[in-house]
Subunit: 385 residues, 2 copies
């Protein structure tokens, strides 16, 4: 196991009726901006619960954060913050809303030029407005980590800072009951790929991290398909297990002291930026191709993954690896997501544009060995056709 520092200060309130906890979490004299996306929180009752919990707090609202949240939209929220002297933010929604609030929190206090520099030049975040989150779509883990992905002019970029951990996050599985099947499946796939990006690399004898990652994967494999059935559509246990899995998949814990991959995410981001494909669906398309292309580098962990996560027993290593990858693809298909570029009507003529974007964003040495060059990314994309 490699050396590491781990610190996750976010306070989690998990379970039904926990939204009322925000009344005590947010200081009484705070001026709050509630930030959300479309109108879904109004139709599913979450907006009303938040409103009730805010009680006598002085608060304003800003809606319209889109999936793959845009810089331009976030900057509009910053104007309100300045006009109203807002000093606390509350994100209500999924990862996009929380990511946007992280950017807004830091950008509102950024005084060294264009805050987009935090993403494009990795300019240091020196201060941020404190904020909490009410999660309604388990997927990204953003509710309990320090990272954010924003989009501007077709560029989907990342920034992170310890200053943008949510102070608190409410995870009420009941808020997820109104999600569409597509949203559920996207969330499960996102959490799954977050996990494997930190697990399916090469072994460093980090037994706890491996077993925790395997536990998350097994839980998602069991609960994901159930959540899509009509029979279990109101099962809060299943929703709760998925929600807690998604948070733990990317709250830092399983990723300490181990190598990370993230090639699938980097390639996937370009697919979203160029073609508007849902984030999770870019992952389900790219990941099987990454496994096939990098199966030598991932050999030992692929065998462990096959045996422990899929209970495979094939004595032949290569056959077992093939089976493990096939199981992964079959799971993705059960979750009703595409597993090939052709499933979303893309093909070999689209590869050059993706590579151009990767090059532009300096994504030229990806993966746990930093040896996924543009040429290897081309192989991966060809494999994904």
């Amino acid at each position: 196991m490699n050396k590491f520092t781990f610190h996750n200060p976010t306070r989690i309130h998990f379970g039904e009726d926990q939204i009322n906890k925000i009344s005590k979490e947010i200081p009484e004299n705070a001026k709050v901006l509630v930030v959300y996306g479309g109108g879904s929180i109004k139709s599913n009752g979450v907006y009303d619960q938040v409103k009730e919990a805010l009680g006598n707090h002085k608060w304003y609202e800003f809606s319209g954060i889109e999936p793959n949240p845009l810089y331009d939209t976030a900057m509009k929220a910053i104007q309100i913050i300045k006009d109203k002297n807002i000093d606390y933010l509350l994100a209500v929604g999924g990862g996009s809303v929380i990511d946007a609030v992280k950017f807004i929190a830091a950008a509102a206090l950024y005084d060294e030029g264009d805050p987009w520099d935090m993403l494009v030049k990795q300019a240091k975040v020196k201060q941020a407005i404190p904020f909490g989150a009410v999660l309604t779509l388990p997927a990204t883990g953003s509710e309990s980590n320090s990272g954010s992905v924003m989009t501007r002019d077709g560029n989907k970029l990342f920034f992170g800072s310890p200053l943008v951990y949510p102070v608190f996050a409410v995870l009420d599985p009941a808020t997820t009951l109104s999600l569409s099947k597509r949203q559920i499946s996207n969330g499960v796939i996102d959490a799954f790929v977050h996990t494997v990006e930190q697990y399916l690399t090469y072994p460093v004898n980090a037994k706890i991290q491996d077993r925790f990652a395997e536990g998350i994967l097994q839980t998602l494999i069991e609960e994901g398909p159930l959540a899509l059935t009509d029979e279990h559509q109101n099962n809060l246990d299943i929703r709760g297990n998925i929600m807690w899995s998604a948070t733990l998949a990317l709250n830092g814990l399983i990723g300490v002291g181990v190598p990370h991959d993230w090639a699938t995410h980097m390639i996937g981001h370009e697919l979203t930026a160029l073609h508007g494909i849902d984030h999770a669906r870019t992952l389900s398309i790219v990941y099987p191709a990454v496994l096939k292309t990098c199966k030598e580098a991932k050999h030992v962990k692929l065998i462990q993954y096959g045996k422990r996560v899929w209970n495979l027993t094939n004595q032949n290593d290569d056959a077992l690896i093939k089976e493990a990858i096939a199981k992964t693809e079959a799971f993705f298909q059960t979750m009703q997501v595409p597993i090939r570029l052709s499933d979303v009507d893309l093909g070999k003529n689209d590869i050059d544009a993706i590579l151009t974007k990767l090059e532009q964003h300096r994504m030229v040495a990806l993966g746990e060995h930093q040896n996924i060059t543009l040429d290897v990314s081309r192989e991966i994309l060809k494999m994904a056709i």
Copy 2:
């Protein structure tokens, strides 16, 4: 899964050469009291590393914290704190030292009478001196939780408060290389029983917590015996996996949203207080008897434990449970700890005194169902002969 709030603010610095992180963790102008136990940190080099890391800090030291730390000893440290205007504490040692520092941190600022009331009357902790920990003996998890156990006049009692989370904890596996085999095995057993106290109860469909607990148990089962061999006595990976397991066994994470048992700990505390038996060795004596006595109440989880942790396949439930308990005892024996009262020269004539102590401490409704009355504790102790 039950509703819960989870918050663990301790910053972990894990790995070799991480002791130097304390120089940045402790404010420059702090007046620090370094608290430790016997002289082992002087002979194994940890004291020197701490001294070097403290650099220009103003610091004092207090040694002599004993295993099962005593109230009277802790109160002596408080006198130094008052005399020298200490405003930061640094625990260097195992769980006993860290537990003592938690008590010292809170007791030094307790102004409503005898600070022992925090334990005997569960008087509320309203403030505490901030402190960090350099862990040298992985076992109790105290380095990243908010609980402490102290002893006074033969009474071993617990207190807890969010104010006594360590600000930071250094986990350098190299500091554990000089431990005796007895210390290693005690640590592994302590972490193991911490885990099962939160896992082996009744199912509430908390899949992540279950799998994380199983992952810790499997890691301890694999690494514990290896750490005792001469061949692997300097293997930092093994020590690291044990160290990280012990922290995660009791940092709150696996215990959220699930029932807790803790009967073994409560009965074990009396064995330590009355007979001076090492904490972990009281657990290895009591736990198998708890499993046998409560096997109906724990039926479903015992089967899950047998199948997932021990890979048992017996089709007959009762036989499988018997096998699972036998495996547990065999593991304890491999770890060279006693599994019966008779192994430590105690027997049926000693049971009444233990029950009297349990009654005195109001430990009359233990276990996840609060139905382990004194009569059931008597059954457990008879089973443990």
